[in-house]
Structure formats: structure tokens, C-alpha cells
């Protein structure tokens, strides 16, 4: 009995003792092998996971930017004549299409300069400055003023004094002049001519009219980019004019501009400027093109009637009826020498994603035109 108890004690001792050195060594070896394999597998998937995360982020960034542009573009051309008789032809969009003759992209550093990218100007009329009419130096209701002079005269806005009218304008305002229709108060536009200028100083009340200071335009109505940052009249066009009279209209433009800020060529940014405030809409933008479809395009075999050269429509931006925006973004370039992926767009070590959207501004297709 005693012996039996002793055997049992030994048995328990054996059962409750720890691993032998051999067992421990084998277990550790297996754990190292399995753990190592697991870690290798995990590490293999880390770049793939990061890549997926970056691509998803890029996709969201592109979609957000495109959606913001959609919201602005669909309302292009608003505010011309609140309430009544919206003209059929208002200008709502101008585009600065870059047609690069030399490369703006440096393959070695994957950097971009601003000449790679278009600029999109979305025009709306200011809701805080009602439309007014031109006049001459006597304040006549039928008098005319010319943009080839140093000042442009306007009548007081209906229901306002000369001083109140002058107080609505300020230096830096860009105004749009358009030919009126039949009758001074008809609130219709013939759309035959337009012109623009930027106020170079504060307006001056002059008896029964207001003088707006400006840099004179050329005799064909064209202006330098400095005098017309919205690109309405920088190239000669059949719709530009210089003389506007009492039946015509003058309005202050409230623009929204999209362009790519490439001041840091390693990270070009799509920015939106409105009311003097500039916001970054998307980082790492490497492509921004704006194409347009225009009224009266006679192409019959072109299944994609969107143009990227304004010469196609004679720089007459009032013909624009639909806009096709293409945006190309990239993930942050990966400087790791072991990162071997190269995209087929520009050969850079990053993912690239292109998005397009077509927007038909509702105000630019009125009256069936």
C-alpha cells in the first residue's frame, strides 16, 4: 500500500511537472516557425492594405472635389435678372484651357507646374448690387459710355440715389456689360454684345450719374488678363463690344474660380476661390481639364462633342451649354526604394485615379437654346 502510494505520488509528480528541455525546445522552434511565417504573411499584406487605404482616400477626395464643382457649376449664370425674363444666352462659364507647347511635368521628380492645368471660372451676378444702366457725361437716360476711356458712367440704380449707388461698388469689382433688348425696362437682353472691366478705384458720384474708374479696353473690346482675370474678353470674339448705352445693363460679377495651385510643385492642390476666400479642395492633383460642349456645334461624327480648345467656338463663352470636368489625382508618392510599383500615367511611385463628370448648368439652356 505504501509502495502504491509512493508510485501514485511519482505519477502525480510526473504529470504536474513542467516541460522537459526537449519539449520546450521543440515547442519554441514550432512557435518561432509559425510566428515567423505569420509575421511574414502579415508584412506582405501591409503594403497591400496601405495601398488600398490610400486608393480609397484618393477616390473619396476626387469624388468630394467633383461634387463640389457640380454644385457650383449647376448654378452657373444665376442672378442675371431676378424673377423675370431670363435671357437665353447669358455667359455663365469661362475656361482657360492650357494647350502646353512645352512639358510642364518633370518625370525625374514627378513635379508639376501650373501650366499643366486648366482654370474654370463660374460666373454669377452679385445679389447685393442690382443691375444698372450706362449713361454719358450728362447723365442722359439714353446716353452711352465706352470702355475705351478711363471711366465708365452709369445711372443711379432704380430706387437709389447717386451716392447710394456709388456706395455699392468698390475697387476690384469686376463688372459685366451686356446689350439690352427692346425697351429700357424690358429686362431682356439681345445678347449681341458684352464687355467687362475691373474697377481700379472707388466710384465717383457726379451730379446725376456715377463714374466707375477702369483701365481702358482695346478698340476691339479685348482686355489684358490683369484687367479681366475672369477671361471673358482676353481674346477677340464676335460678341465683344465697347460702347454701351441707356438700354443696356451693367452688373457686378460674383465669380467662383477653380484652379490648381502648383506653388509647391511636389503637391499641386485644386483650390476654389469665392468672395476672396481660397479653400483647398483636393491635394495631390496631377490633372485638371475642362472641356465644353457649345451651342451650334455642327460636328456630325464626333460622339464625344466636348472641346478643349476655345478656338473651336471662337472664344465665345456665351455659347457654352455643358461642361465636362476631368480630374486626376494621385496618392502621396512613396519614396521607399523597395516600393516597385509604377503607374502607367506618368510612371510615378503612386496610384493614379481619374474622374470625370458632365454638368449642364441649368441657367445656360433656357428658352430652348
Amino acid at each position: 500500500m505504501t509502495r502504491t502510494l509512493t508510485q501514485n505520488s511519482r505519477s502525480r509528480a510526473t504529470r504536474t511537472s513542467g516541460f522537459t528541455l526537449m519539449e520546450f525546445t521543440v515547442a519554441m522552434s514550432m512557435m518561432i516557425v509559425i510566428g515567423g511565417a505569420t509575421m511574414a504573411l502579415f508584412q506582405q499584406n501591409v503594403p497591400s492594405f496601405n495601398n488600398q487605404q490610400n486608393t480609397s482616400g484618393l477616390n473619396i477626395s476626387m469624388q468630394s472635389a467633383v461634387t463640389q464643382m457640380q454644385l457650383d457649376l449647376v448654378n452657373a449664370g444665376t442672378g442675371y435678372y431676378p424673377g423675370v425674363n431670363i435671357p437665353s444666352w447669358p455667359i455663365g462659364v469661362t475656361v482657360v484651357n492650357q494647350l502646353p507647347s512645352s512639358s510642364c511635368f518633370t518625370p525625374g521628380t514627378f513635379t508639376y507646374t501650373s501650366t499643366c492645368f486648366d482654370t474654370l471660372n463660374i460666373l454669377a451676378m452679385s445679389s447685393s448690387v442690382p443691375p444698372s444702366h450706362p449713361t454719358d457725361a450728362t447723365g442722359s437716360l439714353t446716353g452711352c459710355s465706352s470702355t475705351t476711356n478711363n471711366s465708365f458712367d452709369i445711372q443711379p440704380i432704380a430706387g437709389m440715389t447717386v451716392a447710394q449707388t456709388a456706395a455699392l461698388f468698390s475697387a476690384g469689382n469686376q463688372v459685366l456689360l451686356i446689350k439690352g433688348g427692346t425697351g429700357r425696362q424690358s429686362l431682356q437682353s439681345s445678347g449681341t454684345q458684352m464687355e467687362t472691366f475691373v474697377l481700379t478705384g472707388s466710384p465717383t458720384p457726379n451730379g446725376n450719374y456715377v463714374s466707375l474708374p477702369l483701365n481702358p479696353s482695346n478698340s476691339d473690346g479685348t482686355n489684358s488678363a490683369g484687367n479681366d482675370p475672369l477671361n471673358i474678353s482676353t481674346v477677340a470674339s464676335t460678341v465683344l463690344g465697347t460702347s454701351f448705352c441707356g438700354t443696356d445693363w451693367l452688373m457686378v460679377i460674383s465669380p467662383t474660380t477653380y484652379h490648381v495651385d502648383a506653388s509647391d510643385p511636389t503637391d499641386p492642390k485644386l483650390v476654389r476661390t469665392r468672395g476672396g476666400v481660397t479653400d483647398t479642395i483636393a491635394d495631390e492633383v496631377i490633372g485638371f481639364k475642362v472641356l465644353v460642349a457649345y451651342m451650334g456645334d455642327t460636328a456630325t461624327n464626333d460622339v464625344l462633342q466636348y472641346h478643349f480648345n476655345p478656338a473651336d467656338y471662337g472664344y465665345n463663352y456665351s455659347l457654352i451649354r455643358s461642361i465636362r470636368v476631368s480630374l486626376i489625382g494621385r496618392t502621396t508618392p512613396n519614396p521607399d526604394a523597395e516600393y516597385t510599383f509604377r503607374n502607367t500615367f506618368d510612371g510615378g511611385p503612386y496610384q493614379v485615379l481619374g474622374s470625370t463628370v458632365i454638368i449642364n448648368p441649368r441657367n445656360l439652356s433656357m428658352n430652348g437654346n
Binding site: Q98, F105, C116, I286, V303, I328, V352, G354, S365
Partner: protein, 198 residues
């Protein structure tokens, strides 16, 4: 007592039987296969969602495009009650212009719309293609070569139907259906969207 302890020790030291090992292996494999199938389904579902988003974007884009035409333009003119079809590729010559009521859009699955091809037919019924390629220097290349789905492109077909005096007299209802053409993608339902315009 001693015998009993001895039997107990033998039983304790005994390993798994082959049946136990087989059952455990089968259960383990079944579990792993289920997990793999779940992951596969999730990935497939994610891809289908992506394709469906593309289809929705293309449908919306086509409707926006058709909304830009004046009401008298041949592209949206209806002689009779309807123009176009949602089930067949249709082309009609209206006022001397080949009006396509369908097109195909091809683009890269990995890089999106960096390069995009749109196809249709000309007045003589010959296929025409317009491919826009965005280049890093900001220029746009344009070619008229036919693309190939075997080159790894995504292909979507859009068909549209214009109904006169729908839903009320004087209005036109335009419906676009987008279907994916890549045979390798299964389970993709067509995407349909409509709008009403004068």
C-alpha cells in the same frame, strides 16, 4: 487500487485516435473554407458596388449630356411616341445627323478615366470611336482607334429611350440603362435612371 491507477495513467497518456484527428481536420477545413468563402464574397460584393457606382455615374452623365440640347435638336427629337430603345442598339438619321441612342464607354479599371473611349455609329452605320487620353503635360490626345476589352478595360454600354408627352403632354421622359460588358464580372445588374425635360 494499483491496477486502477495504472489503467488511469495509460489512458491519460494516450494520444488522439485517427478518427478524432480526421474529424478535427474536417471541422477545421470546413471552418477555413467558410471563412475564405466569406472573404471572397465580401471582395466580390465590394467590386460589384464599385462597378454599380460607375454605372450610376455614367447614367447620370448621359442624362446631363442629353439635357444640354435645345428641345428641337435632332438628338432628342421624337417622331411618333418614342425614340431609341433600352434593349437594342438603335441608330437613326435625323436631319442628316446619325443619332445614336446607345454608346459604349471604356476606361481603365485601375486608373479610372485617365483614358476614356466612347463609341457610336456614323451616318453610314460604321462604328466610330473617340478616345481621349490625358497626358501628364496637360495636353489631351484624341484618337479614333477601336479599343479592346481584352486589354483589361472596363466596358459599359448605355442605351436610352426618349418618350414623347411623358409623364404629361409637352414633356419628354428620357431613361438610360447602363450594363457592364465585361463577361468576367458576374452578378452585375443593369442600372437604370430617368429624367424629365421639355
Amino acid at each position: 487500487m494499483a491496477r486502477s491507477h495504472t489503467q488511469s495513467n495509460k489512458s491519460y497518456a494516450r494520444g488522439f485516435t485517427i478518427i478524432e484527428v480526421l474529424i478535427a481536420t474536417v471541422v477545421l477545413i470546413a471552418g477555413l473554407l467558410s471563412a475564405a468563402a466569406l472573404i471572397g464574397n465580401t471582395l466580390g460584393s465590394t467590386s460589384r458596388n464599385e462597378y454599380l457606382t460607375q454605372a450610376a455615374t455614367l447614367a447620370s452623365e448621359k442624362l446631363e449630356d442629353l439635357d444640354r440640347y435645345p428641345s428641337s435638336d435632332p438628338h432628342i427629337t421624337v417622331s411618333g411616341t418614342t425614340a431609341g430603345s433600352l434593349t437594342a442598339d438603335t441608330v437613326q438619321t435625323v436631319s442628316g445627323i446619325a443619332v445614336n441612342y446607345y454608346d459604349e464607354v471604356f476606361f481603365s479599371p485601375s486608373q479610372g478615366f485617365v483614358e476614356e473611349t466612347v463609341s457610336g455609329l456614323d451616318v453610314n452605320g460604321n462604328p466610330i470611336y473617340t478616345t481621349l487620353t490625358h497626358n501628364p503635360d496637360g495636353s489631351i490626345g484624341q484618337s479614333n482607334a477601336a479599343p479592346s476589352l481584352t486589354s483589361g478595360l472596363f466596358g459599359f454600354k448605355r442605351r436610352w429611350l426618349i418618350e414623347q408627352d411623358q409623364p404629361i403632354a409637352g414633356m419628354r421622359r428620357i431613361t438610360v440603362v447602363v450594363t457592364m460588358e465585361n463577361q468576367s464580372v458576374s452578378g452585375m445588374a443593369p442600372f437604370q435612371m430617368s429624367m424629365v425635360r421639355p
